[in-house]
């Protein structure tokens, strides 16, 4: 059978079983197993192989540790205090807490090299707090999802490292290249939240004028934030001071959260136990999706998927722009089901020769690449950020709620992407100053 037909059927089959309500992990794995049986039975051993090699990646330890950290903070009330304090400080702004959430996500993005930690941590902390202050679900979920996705763009970034190695592009330059687009995105989110909540106050109500806090109360509020800030500085500090790698810093975050709880108020075995239960549940969900997604990719490759990708780019009319558009489209499509590093590993070697022929800067493309992955992660119906958020939020939040919430933020990401395409200097200027 024709390769294109088989691969199309594989994706259609996946969509159908997922929409029929099969858990994402089992849908990915089941579809891959079926097509493996039919067309590439020798590759079925990739199933146990990905089961071993996916969690074996050292960076994945950040997933359970940051889930655990977020949970400990949430149970202990540190996060609530921090948000209460933030509410006193910036609550007079429409959507102030959501803006603050985006800022914290940006800081978290600077801490971690991958997407899940910021989403996971902030999802547990920020969502309940925003709900308490009557923020609308749409603004709360959107700001967490979009903010969390910044992790790959703002350095340090694991995806940039993988891309740099494969595209033979300076990793230092890529790190610098991600900063301005990252800040643009974070600023766009804040502006959007402010405008939206000004026009529709029910989305993120400001404190009524006569209830505002005095300067003294505001100064006092800062004291409530300290444990939270301390934790951020602990995780950030060990990385930037050269004490630990980003993967190792997660253990400091989790350990720090425990320690601060001991200092700050009593910690009970119940809290630790509930956090462990929550962590194991989420890790099971997340790891199984990542593993099955990698298996899906292995079968996809064995069926000749990589050849199809190259053909699609080269067959695209419109020269440089056509090819560029096609490459971004492919990244977004693959981003529905694939892990960021897996997409990079698969398509970078295919794209780099094309970039060289068309004389497109690999630095600029690298930044476009990561912005695209962010969009892919957030775009319905499938995306890793969507899956993580859905699993962290209370059960009454449906996938439909998540989809509706992220849509405006996807719009902002696309604006940033267009800006980046029109003005490549946004990515290339900062690295060029360091030469």
């Amino acid at each position: 059978m024709d390769t294109i037909l088989i691969i199309s059927l594989m994706f259609i089959c996946l969509f159908v079983v997922l929409f029929l309500g099969l858990p994402v992990a089992l849908g990915l794995g089941g579809t891959a197993a079926l097509f493996g049986y039919l067309f590439a039975p020798e590759v079925l051993t990739a199933a146990p192989s990905t089961f071993f090699s996916t969690p074996w990646q050292h960076i994945l330890v950040t997933v359970p540790l940051f889930i655990f950290m977020g949970n400990i903070i949430r149970y202990s009330g540190i996060a609530q205090d921090a948000y209460d304090a933030a509410y006193k400080l910036i609550g007079h702004l429409p959507g102030g807490l959501a803006m603050g959430t985006v800022q914290v996500c940006t800081i978290f993005a600077a801490i971690t090299g991958v997407t899940p930690p910021a989403t996971i941590t902030m999802g547990q902390i920020a969502y309940p707090s925003m709900m308490r202050y009557n923020y609308h679900r749409g603004i709360a979920i959107g700001s967490i999802g979009a903010g969390g996705a910044l992790g790959a763009l703002i350095p340090p970034s694991v995806p940039f490292i993988f891309y740099g190695i494969l595209a033979n592009e300076s990793i230092g330059a890529l790190f610098l290249g991600g900063i301005i687009p990252g800040l643009i995105l974070s600023t766009l989110y804040v502006i959007y939240i402010g405008i939206r909540c000004k026009i529709q106050p029910h989305m993120g109500p400001a404190i009524p004028k006569d209830n505002r806090y005095s300067v003294r109360e505001k100064i006092g509020a800062v004291a409530g934030i300290w444990p939270f800030l301390l934790l951020i500085f602990l995780v950030l500090g060990v990385i930037w001071l050269g004490v630990a790698t980003p993967a190792e810093a997660a253990a400091f975050g989790a350990g720090g959260a425990l320690l601060i709880n001991v200092l700050y108020r009593s910690i009970t075995w119940e809290i630790v136990k509930d956090s462990l239960i929550f962590t194991v549940k989420l890790v099971g969900m997340g790891f199984w999706i990542l593993i099955a997604a990698n298996f899906f990719v292995n079968i996809f490759s064995a069926l000749g998927g990589q050849g199809i990708i190259t053909q699609a780019v080269l067959a695209m009319p419109g020269g440089e722009w056509g090819a560029l558009l096609m490459m971004m489209l492919i990244i977004m499509l693959l981003g529905m089901i694939m892990d960021d590093w897996a997409i990079i590993m698969m398509v970078t070697p295919l794209f780099v020769p094309i970039l060289n022929i068309l004389d497109i800067s690999t630095l600029w493309f690298g930044v476009l690449f990561i912005v695209n992955i962010q969009i892919a992660y957030l775009t319905p119906p499938f995306g890793f950020v969507l899956f993580w958020i859905k699993s962290i939020l209370p059960k009454d939040v449906t996938m439909g709620d998540v989809y509706r919430s992220v849509l405006p933020f996807i719009g902002l990401q696309i604006i940033a992407l267009i800006l980046l395409i029109l003005f490549p200097e946004l990515a290339t200027w900062l690295p060029s100053t360091m030469k």
Partner: protein, 337 residues
């Protein structure tokens, strides 16, 4: 001569190219960013396809396509993929004899010596031990390349072994054994952590293959390279699944064995050029290449043979035999007492 029993080939068939084209899937332990891609596996594929007159077609896929790089050796052995390329530092946990082919710490100094000890001189033929072990793993060893020195890249200068004492460098597997023996503090980071780790000062440098150093952009963050390296001739191997190998006819097997040696020297030469380029990149970005004196090299070799070689010998019976033959070779060459 390294052709083993050519079992499985159809006796009815005439000696020559078969009618049918054999298709192989080749997935190395690394991806196209690695020096072993353009200088190792691509030229090997070219040579094999040419020598077998197009009766073998090889589809080359980067690590992670079919299985992850770490799992690819096992995948070639069970037939998930047909061909594998990688280093014993990756697959040595399954087949420790790979260490004999990888290159002994402070062992062979160049391709000529390595070839002589491994295949060229009937006195030693250490390669046979590796081939036997590979056959037991359902693999046939078919390709080899000297990638040049595996060395130490640092933010501080190394002029003697004493300079390594107490330093924190990223070192894995045999590198860690060597570095520990030299009084250093080996740190086990994954490859994607090294760049940022050096940049932020978490570690003070890394062990790496010289020709691949610039592929990882390490020249941006390190200041010194040490030559001749702790392993002056680090090698990479190519293996074919034994069942896939047995399905070839005798003529095809002979053709592939014939290019083993020529391809070894050709790819080793290509890697040597890559090493030059990498060192040039380092100098262009303000770094310095330090070449140790003969005396210091001797000292390092003694230490390596005393402290690290026994660890390799301990890994299997064949390794013990192979290490003995390596020692004999260095003695015969007058490189050790």
């Amino acid at each position: 001569e390294e052709t083993p029993e050519a079992e499985g080939s159809d006796s009815e068939e005439e000696y020559g190219p078969p009618e049918e084209v054999t298709k192989w899937t080749f997935q190395p332990a690394f991806d196209s960013g690695d020096a072993g891609w353009a200088n190792g596996v691509e030229p090997w594929i070219e040579d094999v396809e040419e020598a077998t007159e197009g009766t073998i077609e090889i589809d080359l896929l980067p690590a992670g396509s079919i299985v992850s790089g770490n799992e690819a050796f096992g995948a070639a052995s069970n037939g998930t993929i047909d061909v594998y390329a990688g280093w014993a530092t990756v697959y040595g946990g399954i087949m420790p004899e790979g260490m004999l082919a990888y290159g002994m710490p402070m062992g062979a100094e160049n391709s000529e010596q390595a070839w002589e000890a491994m295949w060229g001189d009937d006195e030693y033929r250490i390669g046979e031990l590796v081939q036997e072990a590979a056959n037991e793993e359902n693999l046939q060893w078919v390709g080899w390349a000297n990638q040049g020195p595996n060395s130490i890249f640092t933010t501080f200068p190394i002029n003697s072994l004493e300079d390594l004492e107490g330093k924190k460098l990223r070192a894995g597997g045999p590198q860690a054994l060597f570095f520990e023996a030299m009084g250093g503090t080996p740190v086990s980071f994954e490859s994607d952590e090294i760049y940022s780790g050096i940049d932020l000062g978490t570690i003070e440098g890394t062990f790496w293959d010289t020709g691949g150093m610039n592929d990882m952009n390490f020249h941006e963050v390190i200041d010194y390279a040490m030559l001749p390296g702790w392993n002056p001739a680090q090698h990479q191997e190519i293996y074919v699944n034994k069942d896939a190998w047995n399905e070839l006819n005798e003529w095809q097997q002979d053709k592939i064995n014939e290019i083993f040696e020529s391809n070894y020297f050709k790819t080793s030469e290509m890697h040597a050029e890559g090493v030059e380029e990498a060192l040039q990149d380092l100098e262009d970005s303000g770094g310095e290449v330090i070449t140790l004196s003969d005396e210091k090299v001797e000292e390092m070799r003694q230490e390596a043979i005393e402290k690290v070689w026994p660890e390799i010998a301990d890994q299997s019976e064949r390794n013990a035999e192979g290490v003995e033959r390596w020692e004999q070779y260095l003695q015969d060459k007058g490189m050790i007492e």
